[in-house]
Amino acid sequence: MARVVVVTSGKGGVGKTTSTAALGAALAQAGEHVVVVDFDVGLRNLDLVMGAERRVVFDLINVVQGDARLHQALIRDKRIETLSLLPASQTRDKDALKPEGVAKVIAELREKFDWVICDSPAGIERGATLAMRHADIAVVVTNPEVSSVRDSDRIIGLLDSKTERAERGERIDKHLLLARYDAVRAARGEMLKVEDVLEILSIPLLGIIPESEDVLRASNLGVPVTLNNPASAPTRAYLDAARRLRGETVVMTFPSQKRSLISRLLGRKAIA
């Protein structure tokens, strides 16, 4: 049975789009049929991160309004056969996204795919609530930083009240994806620790994605990080997170503290 996942956060710039692309690619690499859906109307970026920006013909709003058929708007990934993208509209305003139309599109996507992964816009307005509306699973992307944690708490409240599942009195599966985690700064006490964030938000941990230049490089090239650099630390973290989404039990690995060149030469850890 298809699962609809929303990747959400409240706060902007925490890594939702990066994570949507990476988790979508990771699931598809494992043979699942995946579609990643961009809900960020007016500010779409998932197409860029996926490297499909030159191939967008029709978008979510064209489909919602009946100007294009769903299959005409879906873009098949050139690298992974089982991965598709449904882009957001860059030109229309957000009000063009109608709840009934979105419900129809999601229902149709459920028929075609194993996973429907919705990249939410920042904020708690229409775009964000529509993106979470039909979700079975929520991936709450949070940075270890006060305003991000607070906004995540707010989003968790919305997930428990404004989603279809919540309204039916059912549970929505919520997972925390701690992104842009800098182990060195956390060890120095400059950043909230994993345990701190978990204790405050009290939802299960899906993964810890380290802050890494591999992410920037991958988005420059338009390749999900899991494809671009299979050996990198964020790739390993995303692959493990995807396995957990599929229901596997995977031991959590904590990002290790990077050792600086000097301390390596001296044979010591940068942070004791």
Partner: protein
Amino acid sequence: MNLFSFFRRRRSAPVARERLQVLLSHERGNGGDSELLAVLRDEILRVISAHLTIDDDKVQVKLERGQAVSLLEIDIEVPGRLDQQIRKRRRPAGPPLLPAPST
């Protein structure tokens, strides 16, 4: 970090720059090309469906935007043999779909 990753590191920003230039040159002005593409698809399909029975579900529109040229591809899947599909002069009366060739 090995030599390979060193060179790869230096290469990603120019790629990003080139991708953005192509994308933005298409996105600027006229607010993008999606409206035009819908019109093109509809008109092309209208002309073709005067002669062939086409199923909306079997029509795929593909595009690859480039700096100098773009490639627009419309794939129409027609079942069976093409000659069996041709609707011989069964087009309903009405204004011609294409202007009469000038002589």
